[in-house]
């Protein structure tokens, strides 16, 4: 008998004497169930969040729709990138720009409707100004308070709503 065969035989006998088949199945089951719950752990979720690029994260200034935003992100203030937080109302008057989506290379029309009716949110302030014009072009400036047409002009945060695909990027870019 070769040394390799002898080693294999000893290992097989050791396994057969110390572990039952039921024990093997139980351990395999525990391993499979444990693996399935790994992504639920906070550490795993944190790692997954860190892995997503900032231009895909609506709570980051680098999010692609935020290329011309000036204000607090509603996604950090109890709302979302398209919905105002509870207790505020969306301004029907807004400033609109274009942002290029890196995923498909198209220029999208993005409406930065402000949410109004509560004081400054204070979280996730962003000031990116692609296409922003001086305030003497009021309809092309993001520096003015766009809380108009609402019951109050108190500014809280800004959304970034896609209106469609633009025929071309805004001329001021």
């Amino acid at each position: 008998m070769s040394p390799f065969d002898a080693l294999t035989e000893r290992a097989a006998r050791h396994l057969a004497m110390h572990f039952s088949r039921r024990s093997f199945l139980a351990r395999l089951g525990a391993l499979l169930a444990g693996s399935a719950t790994l992504p639920l752990l906070p550490i795993a979720r944190g790692a997954a969040a860190a892995a997503s690029p900032p231009e895909d994260d609506p709570t980051r200034c680098e999010y692609w729709r935020h290329c011309a935003i000036d204000g607090f992100l509603c996604a950090c203030c109890g709302g979302s990138v398209t919905v105002c937080p509870p207790g505020t109302e969306m301004s029907p008057v807004t400033w609109i720009g274009t942002c290029r989506n890196p995923a498909d290379g198209h220029d999208y029309l993005v409406s930065y409707n402000d949410c109004c009716g509560k004081g400054y949110c204070g979280r996730c302030f962003c000031n990116r100004n692609e296409g922003d014009r001086p305030i003497y072009y009021p309809h092309r400036s993001n520096d003015i308070n766009w809380c108009a047409g609402t019951s109050t002009n108190v500014y809280h945060c800004s959304t970034a709503i896609v209106l469609g695909v633009a025929a071309e990027a805004q001329p001021e870019r």
Binding site: T94, H139, L163, V165, A166
Partner: protein, 113 residues
Amino acid sequence: MRGALATLLVCLAAGGAAAQSLPETDYTLQCRGCHGPGGAGVPGQVPPLSGVAELLETPAGRARLLAVPGVRQSSLSDERLARLLEWVALRFSPAEGTPHFPPLSAGEVAELR
């Protein structure tokens, strides 16, 4: 098989959103923020655009339209502004009747703005 093909076609149609025309993009970037998607404006604050077609029917109306600050100070070229104003007139004119106005030329825009 036929159902799968139909599903695929629906998915393709939903995924490939068509780009807006140039006048519609200009409207969205230059006008829509205040006048709204339907041109209705905001009562008491932003006027509606339903009267633009009527303004384009007379020389006095055309001069008045080109004197509106947002129009006169627009960064658009004379040609693109002319196409935008015609697009607005046709898009937001009242439902009854077809608007009748002479075409607006880039030269006329340059003269009046």
